[in-house]
């Protein structure tokens, strides 16, 4: 029977002048080997640089082979281990000849967007690569490809795309010696997830009238993080690697089944026979468990005669805790005596049963089971706060993290400034003084006045827009030379919050002299908290719609009366799009159109596979609002105006688009000349 699954597995140890990696190619080879053995089976293409450089064209060809139409696969896995970058809030994989050859790289975000239209029901990306910020001009000028073909036959997204990224935004992923072999930590954790999953990760699925135990993608995240934490702590406790996982797929979607314990070797079978136990038991001992409870094993080296290798041997047979040894029946102890190799009889010789019992008692008295060692990080905490704001089930956070989230959220809520805007439209810039501002002229009559340049601290800069019909793009130069381009929306006051990295939020509040304001006042507290929580989660890549319940709840909470909060509309469009929910993106677009009579760039871009050539409404601003959206303009077939397009290599690493010094003059000129509006 032909395989219904395919995998493109890539491992690149050496990239340009970067530090050679030790394990990328071998990890890829071992992943490929594993996938070739599992059932349901995979057709696998392995591309590593162990013999020759890995070229972009080879990857593109491999993907093309598996995504030809009509679709013949139900799942495609794309695995990459190698050097990576995080540029313009988008991931870039570096191939053998990058960065000297700018096209020898892959844009993960663009690939994910195109994969949504490849026709295969489920695509999974595993990106075991760094997400460090680009450090050189050469790196910033990479021109990465998007790997996937553009099928004209597929108009709407029918693919769920799951992604596993090895580390957080702007941070490094690591490889090191794990046990006896060099491996990168994410790949190590992945392999372990199918060998020794926790009981709660395992899910039965029926395939061709046969029930198999699998580990669904959506149950992997905690295990992967815990395993990475544990493995990394052994190598260097100062390192931190926080994965980023997005899994919109359901429980039936998995990479591989659980690897059931193999039948015992001859020696073990013989030992089992002597102890008159059945040889084909799934777990070798009656007390075996698949993985440590709560993810943390006891330190078994406290037992007499146990060092690292015996501890590992015990773990291998499912023994992680003192109480398992204390409760172990004699036949299991006899079997272990055989298993533990050169010191036969060690279990009875050192009377582990009594020793373990004492250790159980000590542990109970001295330190009642420690909390899992994993810390709440800000990304998870922010995602959790979004859940709470949506009145969905959220877990308790550690108190210090709660306080941190409160603080971050407060910094993202607009102040109570009641500026009189007779024009009903304006922009306040918080956190940075401004030097200049220019507005585009679609109708020809629009103009602005700077009421206050701000002091960069407590007093915001204030710009009043006049005669918008009904919107415009405005470029604002900050005193440090950086600039932003934001939409002016009639009836709304924009609040841009500038931080060190750039614009961290852009909120729109109905002007006090509009009808919307009353409705806004009623919901103000709720909407501002949600907006701030979503902004924080988005900044950390943690605003995701993993369930239809959450997607529906978001849909209800982003409305203010009959309108949609413009900022939440932008965030929601990105999250819906990431979850392949095109219909909801279009809903957001339609709601916003009816309220604003303009399209916001990101929502317009995300609502269609190929945004219409004929634009029914003006689109503002003339560039993506969120930095991450810049990586998608190519796959959406959007041509940005020249003055805007050239800034793509001059973007700050901020959530909302912020241009580096030098951009403002180009943007201002383009706005004044009507090249952009």
């Amino acid at each position: 029977m032909a395989n219904r699954r395919a995998a493109v597995v890539i491992g690149v140890n050496k990239t340009g002048g970067l530090t050679p990696l030790k394990s990328a190619a071998s990890n890829a080879a071992s992943v490929a080997k594993w996938l070739r053995k599992v059932e349901p089976g995979y057709d696998v293409t392995l591309l590593t640089d162990s013999r020759k450089p890995v070229k972009y064209s080879a990857i593109e060809n491999a993907i093309f082979k598996y995504t030809s139409l009509p679709p013949r696969y139900e799942l495609l896995l794309v695995y990459f281990s190698g050097h990576g970058l995080y540029h313009n809030r988008s991931d870039i994989w570096l191939l053998s000849e990058a960065p000297e050859r700018p096209r020898e790289a892959v844009s993960l975000n663009a690939a994910i967007d195109l994969a949504k239209y490849c026709g295969i029901a489920n695509v999974i990306f595993v990106s075991d690569a760094c997400r460090s910020l680009s450090a050189t001009v050469q790196q910033a000028n990479l021109n990465p490809g998007d790997m996937f073909p553009t099928h004209a036959e597929i108009e709407n997204s029918t693919t769920k795309v799951d992604s596993f990224r090895a580390t957080g935004r702007g941070t490094s992923a690591f490889e090191g010696k794990i046990g006896d072999e060099e491996a990168s930590f994410l790949t190590h954790a992945f392999r372990l997830a199918y060998r020794k999953p926790r009981a709660e990760m395992v899910h039965p699925v029926e395939i061709q009238q046969k029930t198999i135990r699998v580990v669904p993608n959506r149950r992997l995240e905690d295990f992967l993080q815990d395993t990475i934490d544990e493995a990394i702590a052994i190598v260097d406790d100062r390192l931190d690697q926080q994965i980023e996982v997005s899994v919109p797929s359901e429980d039936g979607i998995f990479i591989a089944p659980v690897e059931e314990a193999p039948a015992r070797s001859r020696g073990r079978v013989a030992a089992a026979a002597r102890s008159s136990k059945p040889a084909a038991r799934e777990q070798p001992l009656s007390v075996s468990i698949p993985s440590p409870r709560s993810g943390t094993a006891d330190n078994l080296r406290k037992l007499p005669g146990v060092g690292p290798s015996r501890e590992r041997a015990l773990n291998d047979v499912g023994v992680f805790h003192f109480d398992q040894i204390a409760d172990m029946p004699s036949e299991d102890r006899k079997w272990l005596d055989e298993k533990l190799g050169s010191f036969k009889g060690v279990v009875s010789k050192f009377d582990w049963k009594s020793a373990a019992k004492r250790l159980v008692d000590d542990t109970a008295e001295v330190a009642p089971r420690a909390l899992p060692r994993r810390r709440d990080n800000l990304a998870r905490a922010a995602a959790n706060r979004v859940l709470a704001e949506l009145e969905l089930k959220a877990r308790d956070l550690q108190p210090d993290m709660n306080a941190r989230v409160d603080e971050e959220i407060a910094a993202r809520i607009p102040g109570d400034e009641r500026v009189a805007f007779e024009s009903e439209t304006g922009l306040l810039v918080h956190g940075a003084a401004i030097a200049d501002a220019v507005i585009g002229r679609s109708a020809g009559s629009e103009w602005l006045e700077i009421l206050d340049h701000g002091d960069g601290q407590h007093r915001p800069a204030i710009i009043r827009f006049w005669d918008l019909q009904p919107g415009a793009s405005a470029a604002v130069r900050l005193v440090d030379g950086r600039s932003i381009m934001v939409p002016g929306l009639r009836g709304y006051i924009g609040h841009a919050h500038i931080a060190e990295a750039g614009m961290k939020t852009l909120n729109y509040v109905p002007s006090a002299n509009t009808q919307r304001f009353h409705e806004y006042e009623i919901q103000k507290d709720k909407i501002e908290k949600l907006r701030a929580a979503v902004a924080l989660a988005s900044e950390h890549g943690a605003f995701r719609l993993g369930s239809s319940e959450k997607a529906d709840r978001i849909g209800a909470h982003i409305r203010v009366g009959k309108a949609i909060d413009p900022t939440l509309g932008v965030y929601a469009a990105h999250a819906y799009s990431e979850a392949s929910d095109d219909a909801s993106v279009r809903d957001v677009l339609e709601y916003m159109r009816s309220d604003l009579s303009v399209d916001l760039f990101d929502v317009w871009m995300l609502a269609h596979r190929w945004p219409e050539n004929s634009k029914p409404l003006p689109i503002y601003p003339a560039c993506p609002l969120l930095t991450q959206a810049w990586s998608l303009t190519g796959v959406k077939g959007i041509r940005l105006a020249g003055a805007v397009a050239k800034q793509s290599a001059n973007l700050a690493n901020s959530l909302w688009t912020t241009f580096g010094p030098g951009a403002f003059d180009d943007l201002a000129q383009a706005l004044q000349q009507g090249d952009i509006t």
């Binding site: 679709p71 026709g119 597929i154």
Partner: protein, 291 residues
Amino acid sequence: MRLLFVHGIAQGGKDEKELAETWRETLVEGLGKHNVTLPADTTIDFPYYGDILDDYVRRSTLPMPEDVISKGPGENRKFENFLQLAVEEMSEKAGISDEEVEAQLEPGQVREKGIQNWEWVQGIVKAIDQRFTGAVDFTMKKFLKEVFVYLDWNKARKAVEDTVVKMITDEPTVVIGHSLGSVVSYRVLAEHADKMDLRGYVTIGSPLGIKAISTKLALLGMLEQPSKNGWYNAYDERDIVALNALDGKYFPVDPAVENFNGVKNKTKHRHGIIGYLNDKSVAGRIHRYMS
């Protein structure tokens, strides 16, 4: 034993009993080439959806290629896209030359340099009709319009399929689908074959191998082999609708479809049912499935 005949396009306004009788007679003619006839206990069911599909097609506002030229592309982008992809695939496979297309255009016509040159698409459609269909009741644009309405309009699809689903029983059955009827019957079997005693599946003059069609089907649900007892696909290589074999490239199902490209369809456009069911191999295979 029961035969379930699923008809194709352009059957609106016709008498379903007469149609069923035509199918039966043609099959009997084909069986005669093996010196056998239909067993006396054979029953025939003929789900008729011709008027239903006609009604949906009438209610749709799909532009024809000439409308697209006069109004400009974008009137119904999905259909235009489907039409363009399908006719380009057909013309490539059929080896229609640029000169043939050129001959369909008005002399001295100004050429659009854009990516969607609709004059050219219309030229392809006309060239296909001239070389292959050449009949008043069967033209490429009519065919593709009916296929598109069926595939893209959920309500239309359900209404058409319901006529077949109503005739699902657990008695021993051989299903024969012709033209669009092969698409309709495939969809119904993919969903309901497990409730049937399906003895075999025969498709004739089937457009299932056209990528624009098979992809749409795959997006509605993974392509599957619905018949445990075999699927026989027969076609005339001159039939423009059935230009691709249902093989691993064009219709990847497991176990594979058995293709037969040796039919010599005597009808004018090489696509008519009366040129297929009387084929010796087709009739022979139906008989084999029946026994």
